[in-house]
Amino acid sequence: MREIVLAARDVRRDYPVAGEPVHAVRGISLDVAAGDWVAIVGPSGCGKSTLLNLLGAIDRPTTGSIAIRGRDVARMNDADATRFRLTGIGFVFQRFYLMPTLTAAENVELPMAEAKLPRAARVARARELLAYVGLGARADHRPYQLSGGEQQRVAIARALANRPALLLADEPTGELDARTGTEMIALFDRLNRDGTTIVTVTHDEELAQAARRVVHMRDGAIVDQVLRRPLADAVPAPPHAPGTAQA
């Protein structure tokens, strides 16, 4: 039996727009086991990104609970949630959001510096992660010197820096051309096969097809789930895989 990394129970998120309540997420329950890869798909405005923000503890549900590795992130105060995001969750965004004044390696080091990892350790880890995503030779390049696909690889390396329990990706191929998108999907696949638990929100059919499980949303609710590859087939994570979560 695999560990349940993420357990969301009856999660709702309402917020007012022009004085009227909008029910962005309506009572969603979702379990994600260690090593799983879940793709959340659905039409624009169905609540996918809102759900991802809730799962990543950067927003709070109106009701319901979200436990990551047994910790209820919905009840954490801001400081605890910040700390939890730093060490427990990796984020990849559609628009990369690298710090333009830092090199690729420094961008990857940023969360580790925040987590107070010794400099030598974080430099070594940043190099290891950049090599893993295929950018070992571009470590000292700044974001403007990298292509979109390369910037997204750096963003993935940054997300994996503190060995998070869960990698959340919001439209990770949304700003990439088809060929680069395919390369990115291959990278996610490799990450997952190496043991990283992933939840992606996407409109990209190819990316969704690569996931183990596809969750369909509509009007803030899950309307369907498709299991594409059983988790039992997952290759056990190698002990030194860069993305492997800390015990």
């Binding site: 990104s49 809102t50 923000n53 990543g56 950067i58 927003d59 801001d78 400081a79 910040t82 700390r83 939890f84 995001r85 730093l86 060490t87 969750i89 990796g90 984020f91 965004f93 559609q94 628009r95 959001y97 710090m99 333009p100 004044t101 830092l102 420094e106 080091e109 940023l110 969360p111 510096a113 925040e114 987590a115 940054r158 997300a159 503190n162």
Partner: protein
């Protein structure tokens, strides 16, 4: 890494950062100049008074020293009476008057003459020649020599009065210029001379007989100056006694408008510095709002965002204040040169007085303003709603 990120952010928009720093530097320079101006004239005046070495000045009642042409009679008796006070060690009587001198071309040049006792005077510093030893001798300044075409050692005809229409002089006598001096309280361009007191009194005839403009009094070390001042003032109803402290207080009152102006302009400088830094940091935060939201999302603590944004404000203020200090000193020196050339001002009079403690205090205040300027944009950056900001950024 946050500090490095802050500095890198400033370096990212070099021209904007440089312009803001220049603005802060100008504000800092103005602040420093206003602080220096606020205390400059007072400190200059204090320097002059203390340089003379006298603690009390007796003047015709209700006047300031040489504030008017008022004099007091019975000068010799007054001096004797003052000298009997047990706390008084030196009494220096002075009579100020006009002196008319004939030039080699037979024209007449007017000057200010001080009648004094050369043994106890503190009004001039001899630069060339020797001091007064007789009633027919004159010590003058460089302006006098230039205007009359005379040199040290020359003989010159001087007079107490001159009727320009009739070209007739009164109280004339022939004297010899024995020395050249720098007059402490007079402007460099002002023609000045000094003679023995008795000579100046005698030249004025009955109008000046035994009259004095000021009596300078030096007290013994440790004496209670205020008590001596009160005693001297009470001893003669015709005179006012002014201590150095009281003189400075009077100067303070007269310079009140100057100080108020300096205070207002200094406050404006601080406000300008504050607004410049706030504007730049706010614009910088607005430009990076997506980056900041992502930093918060990946787990960077609020206080680190605050520290990073405030570090930008502090860096701008520090660099601006440091440059401003040099700029302020340069402009103060330049302005001092212009203002000191005003007629009637002592040559060594400084409008701008550099007090390191006051300068550092004021520039420290500017840096504090820089810190305060960063508070609001820093707090805004640290408390922005992450999810909503990311959504809005994605839509944008």
């Amino acid at each position: 890494m946050m500090l490095r990120l802050a500095m890198a952010t400033l370096a990212r928009r070099r021209a904007r950062t440089a312009l803001t720093t220049a603005g802060v530097a100008v504000a800092a320079a103005m602040l420093l100049d206003m602080v220096m101006l606020g205390s400059g004239m007072r400190e200059s005046f204090r320097g002059f008074i203390e340089q003379q070495g006298f603690q009390i000045r007796l003047t015709p009642r209700g006047t300031m020293p040489f504030d008017s042409e008022a004099t007091v009679g019975g000068g010799a008796a007054l001096v004797r009476a003052v000298a009997t006070d047990p706390d008084v060690v030196t009494v220096a009587p002075l009579l100020g008057a006009k002196l008319f001198s004939r030039t080699p071309g037979d024209s007449v040049v007017s000057a200010f003459v001080l009648g004094l006792d050369p043994a106890v005077q503190g009004d001039y510093v001899l630069v060339e020649g020797r001091d007064l030893a007789a009633d027919d001798e004159l010590v003058v300044n460089a302006s006098y020599l230039a205007a009359t075409g005379r040199a040290v050692g020359d003989t010159v005809q001087v007079a107490a009065g001159y009727d320009a229409q009739m070209r007739r002089v009164t109280g004339a006598r022939t004297v010899r210029i024995v020395g050249r001096a720098r007059f402490v309280m007079l402007g460099g361009s002002e023609r000045a001379a000094a003679m023995r007191l008795a000579a100046v009194q005698a030249m004025g005839g009955r109008d000046r007989a035994d009259r004095l403009s000021v009596v300078l009094v030096a007290t013994r070390p440790g004496a209670d100056i205020e008590s001596v001042r009160r005693r001297l003032e009470a001893s003669d109803a015709r005179v006012s006694a002014l201590s150095t402290a009281a003189a400075l207080q009077l100067v303070d009152e007269r310079l009140g408008y100057f100080r108020q102006l300096a205070f207002i302009l200094a406050s404006v400088s601080l406000a300008v510095g504050f607004l410049l830094v706030t504007t730049l940091v706010t614009v910088s935060v607005n430009e990076r709002i997506g980056e900041i939201a992502v930093m918060r999302a990946i787990g960077v603590a609020r206080w680190r965002i605050v520290a990073q944004v405030m570090a930008e404000g502090v860096a701008l203020s520090l660099v601006g204040a440091t440059i401003g200090m040099g700029l302020g000193l340069v402009t103060a020196t330049w302005l001092n040169g212009i203002l000191a050339a005003f007629p009637g001002l002592p040559a060594a009079f400084d409008f701008f007085f550099f007090e390191p403690a006051a300068a550092f205090r004021s520039l420290g205040l500017l840096v504090l303003c820089g810190i305060a300027a960063g508070i609001w944009p820093a707090w805004r950056a640290a408390t922005l709603p992450i999810a909503r900001t990311l959504r809005e950024e994605a839509v944008a």
